[in-house]
């Protein structure tokens, strides 16, 4: 019933960082079933910087979670950073995510009882491990984003922009190949948001990192190399959740 849609895909000269095929994820509420996301085909090459757009409720967050291995789809194959996530156990996906994938959320999701530095170190602990060099690396990252004098402050003692930068440092501390961001600049005014994004993209380019960023903001999307509209990945399947409000 699903007709594969032929898409003009740039033949990857570099190995693919992300490959999604026929991915479906739906939630059932009693007799009702809600299709949260449907992606027939999505390829992102290593080093690419992609903006993921789409109307609210079309499943952008869900796709990111699937790419991170946090959610397991009902069907379809997922490859991310060289591993088939759909064939891995949960704990293997956890470790894979910790080592190779950095995530930044709209709500930043810092842990309140821990200082800025400790939050970054937590990323290291659950990622590549708490080696002695992780502290030096965490401190260097915080210095780079101008938080050298705020390392020992708790998230509540920081401005929103500073919290955001801590979150970015935490995502980068394991030197991940893939960075997934869910509207990371939603709370920022244009100018600041643009600055932070520029800084991040610079770091990413220098480190040849792949970036997938969900955004509603056309300005931010323009800064990325490519923009993918989730609706166009949906093939012939009717858009079930198109009428939905906020997620």
């Amino acid at each position: 019933m699903i007709q594969p849609m032929i898409q003009p895909v740039i033949q990857p000269v570099v190995p693919p960082m992300i490959q999604l095929r026929d991915v479906r994820k739906s939630y059932s509420r009693g007799t009702e079933s809600v299709l949260a996301c449907a992606v027939d085909r999505l390829d992102i090459a290593a080093g690419e910087q992609v903006a993921l757009i789409g109307r609210s409720g079309t499943g952008k967050t869900t796709v990111l979670h699937i790419l991170a291995g946090i959610l397991r789809p009902d069907q379809g194959s997922i490859e991310a950073v060289g591993r088939r996530l759909d064939q891995m156990s949960e704990s293997a996906r956890d470790r894979h995510r910790g080592r190779h994938i950095g995530m930044v959320y709209q709500t930043f999701n810092l842990l309140q009882p821990f200082t800025a530095l400790e939050n970054v170190l937590l990323g290291a602990l659950f990622g590549r491990g708490a080696g002695s060099d992780s502290r030096a690396r965490a401190e260097a990252l915080l210095q780079q984003v101008g938080l050298g004098d705020r390392m020992h402050h708790r998230p509540r003692e920081l401005s929103v922009g500073q919290v955001q930068r801590v979150a970015i440092c935490r995502a980068l501390v394991n030197d991940p190949e893939l960075i997934l961001m869910d509207e990371p600049l939603g709370n920022q005014d244009r100018a600041t948001g643009g600055q932070v994004l520029d800084a991040l993209l610079q770091l990413a380019t220098r480190g040849k990192k792949t970036v997938v960023m969900v955004t509603h903001d056309p300005e931010s999307a323009k800064r990325m190399q490519r923009t993918v509209d989730l609706a166009t990945l949906r093939g012939a399947t009717p858009v079930v959740a198109a009428a939905g409000g906020s997620s």
Binding site: T62, H65, A68, I70, L71, E90, S91, D94, R95, R97, G98, R99, M103, Y105, T107, N109, L110, L111, Q112, P113, F114, E118, L121, L122, G123, A124, L125, F126, G127, A130, R170, N174, S247
Partner: protein, 464 residues
Amino acid sequence: MKLWSISLRNLRIRLVATVLTMASIIVATALYAAILVMAEQTEQRYKGSVGGYQAVVGPKDASQLELVLNTIFNVGEAPGLFPLQVCMDLRSGVGVSRRGQVRYAVPQARGDSVSRFNFPVIATLDEMFSKYEWQKAPLVFAAGGPFQFGWDDLMAFATELAAHENGKRAGEVPLPPRPLLKKEWCKAVVGARVARTLGLQLGAVVTPVHGKMGEFGFHEHPEAACEIVGILAPTNSPLDTTIFLPLSTHLLIDGHEAGVFVVEIPPGKTPDDAKKLPVKPGQIALTAIIVDPKDHFGARILRNDFGTRPDAQVAWPQDVVPKFLRQIGNAADALAVIAWLVLLVAAVSITVAIYNTMNERRREIAIMRSLGATRLQILVIIVGEAALLSFFGALLGLLTCHGAACLLQATVEDMTGVYLDWLTFRPWEAWLLLGVTGLGAIAGLLPAVKGSMTEVADNLAADY
């Protein structure tokens, strides 16, 4: 950052709940440790101290346990008096001694204490230091030597004292003189701890007191001030807390309301009438005789002899003490069960306390999972919280126990003769620490499993 430092942080941010839960662990551990310490020290005190066929002779109507505890372990008051004649028989070829079956029979009279520490005073013979054996060896002096007062001295003294008493009772004129308190009798030998506590050295003087300080009837006996001629080497036994005087000194001290003679009240007479009856040297009052039969056979004869004697009985420490220890052991076991229950309740309170935080921590757990934490790591963090809490609780509990032992040391020793050694840490304390920590870890398992089941994607978003 380490997993355990996350656990520690979680405990710290819920400080009130942590402290309250820990308090129950502290109480349970301290209680358990206290019971173990008491049982252990009691056993140590009483077990090693009885050996051979050593027996204690005492008044007929006393309980054997009371007799042994008082005579060997300085617990409580002497249970009663009996006549010197018993000792004379034991030594003079009547009954058991006839066959040379008794190695020694040392008479003792417990009397007034010395100093506010209530160190017991035992009036006895110099045989206490030449014949009596503690754990199969005579007592060793750290300094000085014994006082001189032997059996023959006692016999001569007793005769003189009885003559004086009879003269007084019959209203004789001239009254035979009361024996003088000779200078060479005003000597004392003290145990190691007496010397240490009171800061006594050879040549120092101790003055016996009557009664307990602050109580009615308390008075000193300056006329019987005794010079210390010997300090015993430490034995870590009740001997360490004892002061030894010659029997004569004790008998010449004023204030023995009942008199120094044991007088049977004949049927139909009043106690006042009895005070008029003539006395014999053999009626001088003793509180105990320490007897050592040579062997099993001697012990049998001694047992038979005293089976029919109306004025005294024989008690066997090696029978009485293990029975006593078993009773203590049973009581300790019962208390230990209670302590275990308290510990169990404390463990349940840990489970409840942590379980209740799981809902508010769903987001935090989801965030850690999104950073790459596995379910197992989440489990370890939460179990670690419970274990750390229990560990610190148990540690504080043990310290509490030692602190309490330090504070109560004097009282407990006074009441039971058990010396609480609060400074030594014993191997089982490490096991208790480990055990309580393990129990806490188990208590943390239920909330930990719940925490590790936390759904990640659903809980990552902020609450609306």
